[in-house]
């Protein structure tokens, strides 16, 4: 079976400055792949490249279809949802409008049902449904960003540091939802995280980036149980 997402020898960067060097990685259908690494290792650049924000060489395949050179809206319409590092909230629009925008590409009649579903999962969003999204707290905005991305009914979800800047309790809540959605919907996820411990618990496969190169990869369980690797690469 083809992988949901496969990067083969992908190099990319900003202007003339290369950041990623020949990165290859994959996400299985229904699988969760974690990309770990320190600040500046190229994690966010990897996700931005997949979304079509940066010019790249090499091959990026969604379910076997090469998407290098496509615009980000077209990539979204292929079923790639993205929670960017700044959360990508439409701050002047209401919570409900943000959720509706997530379903922009859909033409089925189940959008309202999906909104209900995420409001049940995140009751804090429910009480603020008609408020401007810019008024939400950081944790609520992350919940909204995740719900908005899932409203696309994606084939694959790209998550950029969902735990960043959030209280541990909120992080646990968000990872719990991810686990639930993964199991219920068979969603594939590419998860970029600095919080290696959380990421390894959720993922089945992991890659460690350093200066834009993959320096280590393997089964998440193996990486987490190897003390030497944990100390030298993952920092916990």
């Amino acid at each position: 079976m083809t992988d949901m997402l496969r990067l083969t020898g992908v190099s990319a960067g900003y202007g003339k400055t290369p950041v990623l060097h020949e990165v290859s990685l994959s996400v299985q259908r229904g699988g969760v792949t974690a990309v770990l690494g320190a600040n500046g290792a190229g994690k966010t650049t990897t996700i931005r490249t997949i979304c079509g924000l940066l010019p790249a060489t090499g091959e990026i395949a969604i379910a076997g279809k090469n998407i290098v050179g496509q615009t980000s809206d077209r990539i979204a319409r292929l079923g790639v949802a993205h929670v960017p590092d700044n959360r990508g909230t439409f701050i002047d629009l209401t919570v409900r409008e943000n959720l509706l925008l997530g379903a922009h590409t859909r033409r089925d009649g189940e959008v309202e049902g999906d909104i209900e579903r995420f409001l049940e999962l995140f009751p804090r969003l429910k009480s603020r449904i008609h408020q401007q999204a810019g008024n939400l707290s950081g944790g609520e905005q992350q919940m909204l960003a995740l719900s908005r991305a899932l409203m696309l009914r994606p084939q694959i979800l790209l998550l950029d540091e969902p735990s960043f800047g959030l209280a541990p309790k909120v992080v646990a809540e968000i990872f719990e939802l991810l686990r639930k959605v993964k199991e219920e919907d068979g969603l594939s996820v590419l998860l970029v995280e600095q919080n290696a411990r959380m990421a390894l618990m959720l993922s089945d496969k992991a890659y460690v980036l350093e200066s834009g190169k993959v320096v280590l990869s393997g089964d998440s369980r193996d990486l987490a149980s190897d003390d030497a690797i944990r100390k030298s690469y993952l920092g916990y």
Binding site: C51, G52, L53, T71, S72, D73, A76, R77, A81, H82, P84, G88, T89, F90, I91, D92, L93, E97, L100, L101, G102, H104, T105, Q132, G134, N135, L136, S137, G138, R148, A149, L152
Partner: protein, 288 residues
Amino acid sequence: MGEFLNQVLAGVANGGIYASLALALVMIYQATQHINFAQGEMATLSTFGAWFLFDAGMPYWVVFALTVFGSFIMGALVERLVVKPVGTASPFAFIAVTVGLLMIANSASHWVGGGDIREFPSPFPGWLGSRYLSAHETGTILVTMIVLVALLTFLKRTPFGLAMRAAAQNPVSSGFVGIRVGLMLTIGWGISAAIGAIAGMMVAPIAFLEPNMMGSILLYAFAGALLGGINNPTGAVIGSFAVGIFENLLGVYVTGSELKLTSALCLIVILLILRPSGLFGKAAVSRV
């Protein structure tokens, strides 16, 4: 007292004109977060187009529909051919382009119209008129209200309108949810030019059709839109009526008619300093 009421109502009539053009400004702002300084001159050019269709003997509402549709195409083409290539790199580039468009549209109007002052028909039957407002003034206010309701319905109640607002506010995130941002801008320019054309056809029977017809009206419309809130269609209409009344009363009782335009300009400056989001506009909020 009767005289005062008359002056207020004359202001309301002017406000109806300003409001129709203010809606075009609001539309382009909703789609691009910018002001199109060429809005008035593009509307004049559309109105010249309409005049030639009348001249060819077509009935009013056919001409109206053709002009609105043709102006939509013109606005969309302007975005694709002129605005888009310049890009969104700098707001100054956008301003320079729309000021350039203003001059081009004005010259084009001179070229097709030859500077003659032309009469332009009003479609409204006499029974719409009353002691206080002429049939055309009442009709203009009605048309403005219809455009307002249509625009509000489009922006607030349709997925397409929502996508358009999203694309203007946050183009990068809009791409992530699959919105074709470029297409939204093109259509936004089209709709805005179409609304401008309606404004032009409402102005022309009062002001006579000539290339500089919309010049000062754009300024009043801008003041009205700023007063009510440039990102709020209802506010912009209310603001435009307020500006219409304000400038008329000021002109009659205080400054004399020579300083009317100056007072509108002063209002713009004061608003930009004191309350840039307008009376009813939403100020941007953010919390990190």
